[in-house]
Symmetry: C3
Subunit: 340 residues, 3 copies
Amino acid sequence: MEFTVSQIAELLNGTVEGDGTTKVSRLDKIQEGTTGGVSFLSNMKYEPHLYTTNSSAVIIAEDYVPDKALSTTLIKVRNPYTAFTQLLEAYSQLNKQHLSGVEEPSFIGENSSMGENGYRGAFSYIGKNCKIGQEVILHPNSYIGDNVQVGDRTIIHSGARICKDSVIGNDCEIHPNTVIGADGFGFAPQDDKTYKGVPQLGNVILEDHVSVGSNTTIDCATIGSTIIRRGVKIDNLVQIAHNVIIGENTVIAAQAGISGSTEIGKNCIIAGQAGLVGHLKIADNTIIGANTGISKSITKPGRTILGYMGFEMKDFLKSYSIFKNLPSLQEKIKELEKKQ
Amino acid sequence: MEFTVSQIAELLNGTVEGDGTTKVSRLDKIQEGTTGGVSFLSNMKYEPHLYTTNSSAVIIAEDYVPDKALSTTLIKVRNPYTAFTQLLEAYSQLNKQHLSGVEEPSFIGENSSMGENGYRGAFSYIGKNCKIGQEVILHPNSYIGDNVQVGDRTIIHSGARICKDSVIGNDCEIHPNTVIGADGFGFAPQDDKTYKGVPQLGNVILEDHVSVGSNTTIDCATIGSTIIRRGVKIDNLVQIAHNVIIGENTVIAAQAGISGSTEIGKNCIIAGQAGLVGHLKIADNTIIGANTGISKSITKPGRTILGYMGFEMKDFLKSYSIFKNLPSLQEKIKELEKKQ
Amino acid sequence: MEFTVSQIAELLNGTVEGDGTTKVSRLDKIQEGTTGGVSFLSNMKYEPHLYTTNSSAVIIAEDYVPDKALSTTLIKVRNPYTAFTQLLEAYSQLNKQHLSGVEEPSFIGENSSMGENGYRGAFSYIGKNCKIGQEVILHPNSYIGDNVQVGDRTIIHSGARICKDSVIGNDCEIHPNTVIGADGFGFAPQDDKTYKGVPQLGNVILEDHVSVGSNTTIDCATIGSTIIRRGVKIDNLVQIAHNVIIGENTVIAAQAGISGSTEIGKNCIIAGQAGLVGHLKIADNTIIGANTGISKSITKPGRTILGYMGFEMKDFLKSYSIFKNLPSLQEKIKELEKKQ
């Protein structure tokens, strides 16, 4: 499908600087721009590409003033990233393929039902006593255990495992090979130094609009529920242990790990490879930096925490910059001692 | 099923403080207690909930003396967590569902056999020349490669991959999407800077009573065997590289990684996100803290190791507390220098 | 199959020290040597085993001179590890099983084709419009989404998920349960503190001779491609985010994570559990140590980087050794202050 730059600008509530009649049909990265493509500039790291890109049009901030002549047409908007996201959304809707029906062989157990207009791919498995909502997409080779509920319009990708008793909300997306509701890691030490498995009898609840990445694990509760609240977004290879609760609209990046019974507040951001020990409470709006270890509860909302065994970001960075100069600091002490 | 608090107390070898005729039918978390539920208090972090819980009964340490009046009935026992675990166990046995038979379609290769009273779920695959024991549970979509042995009563969950030549003991449990016996990461650098794959010809051996979490990887040995000894418990998303040996009753928490040919002793605890480089020997009863990096062998048994490039816990904590004060330390040096 | 030590030595272009007529039929680890086995000694950590091994022959460096009498026969070569790798290769070729044909049930979508001499295992799935090359091995329970291309001789193991639009080169190997081409983690924050998914419309390209371990995730690009160049080797549980580019012959060890849009140069080595933030450029021949965090681009090729928030290895080790002595350093400052 082809549009003029002016049409795009109108859609995005922006203004054109250059030739509005130029035709575009494709979305590009600015550094890989092509004739007929439209790209965007938001992160100023990429500014030099503006002057060399082959994109026919670039979406840019409305207050941006170029240093020199440009060969591309500008579409000026309030927020270039959001505007580009809108375009992606529109493009994605135009190209969306509607999956429906049942591919064989697939398996559905006794007493389970699936709502209308859904899709079950080949080799997908649904256990007993499951209630699957409307317009649900179960990709091939996915698995749903016994007594599971899945809400409307939820998408479960290939190889995802939704284990027994899980409750998945509406409009969720579970990416490939993620495991939801498998046993938590609970073992009671015995007198002979062996461990005995503690039965994990609870479940996992995902509220609405939750997204979980690929190869992530969310364990069922020992009793009660592991709860992922409305709007939470979880990346790939994340570990969420038993009885954890994640507050609304919190975001957790790849390879982070949350230990058992820890409760995370609303609107938090947990960066990649961060780790939290068990039985903590983390206040709302907390930001935890990449690879940060958290071993104490955080009670004051809105803090940014960083560093091995996490402390306040600005304190950590100050100490860390001196850490880098420890050899010269040691040298100074030696000199001071000599002078005594 | 309903029991009186006195019946529960008798089962747990405990004593009742309050109304022993109260009826309970459910297990609760203390902070989410409900009428008719029984919960427990072990970790004193949760003590305040004792006075507000709606649980009809709470299992508690025999020497615990409440500060104020309680609305719940107490069941006093020697070890509340162990006692609660016993209850979970009993509850789990009462509610256990016995899986057996074969769901179709499933696949079993030439010259493979499966013992009595087992279960093969739909879309499960067994390769050639496999010997599967009695009462083995193969959940749907699981995979067993050629020449694999699986012992009695072992449970293999959905999406787990047991690759060729693996030997799995009795009473093991392999959680969803875990991979056992795939190739180790062995590549020989060539003169032209490419790498050539080193064939990985060995296997993985899991002895009896081993539990492996979800989305974990245990690679086969280059030659010989990667060995996980009796009673080892491994959590989710753990990496065990080729030729590693893990000693009896060692516990490894989520997202930890053990590099090639490292040997871990018996009764060790390796916390979450810890990492060990290759070719080390770790003595028995070693405890390695969360996110700790280990780059040297540990020869003395029973140490607790912590911190980036791990050292003795108390030393690390001392240095780390001063690290936090580095800015003031630097200030002091500047002042001392000025006074010269 | 049985060979004499002299035959092995000839194959490896080495010389025999001891009885060349000894017969061997098996490959051993030196510490677990058996009569009739041949092992190797390369890492001098294992030297003591040379004097106690039961292996009938040991491959060793040509300039190695034993301290005392040996009961085993030596095969002296330029590079013992490379020579042993050659033997493994030969052994592996002799024992290789050729998989071919189609096991049923398996699924292949409209308009998809598969080249000659390939294998499709039971419960494997190929979507629509796919072009699969010659001699491709699709193990059981593997999944290939719509519009995917796979080159010749590539091996896709059980449970691997190759999502829509991916392009996989020749001679690649994708290990079990790895996910290639699932959605990147892109969410745009909204005014009401919810997040809205940014459509991920790009794909993943794997060039030729790429190997990817088990349970690894490589996300598709938002637009354009996430690119893994020729000869790259990736271990287990690695996270590669959207729009990342990995240069030729770079090696990435287990549990490392590369955030979105970061570009890694050629011939780099990224050790286990390392983490890189997004939008960086890492120069060719960079070595990044285990558990190292990288938050800035590295422009000079050939550096070795180590430590939390990574800096030059020798600087880090110097600072870190003083970190361990911080308590005594603090003591010295206190004494200096007293003397004022």
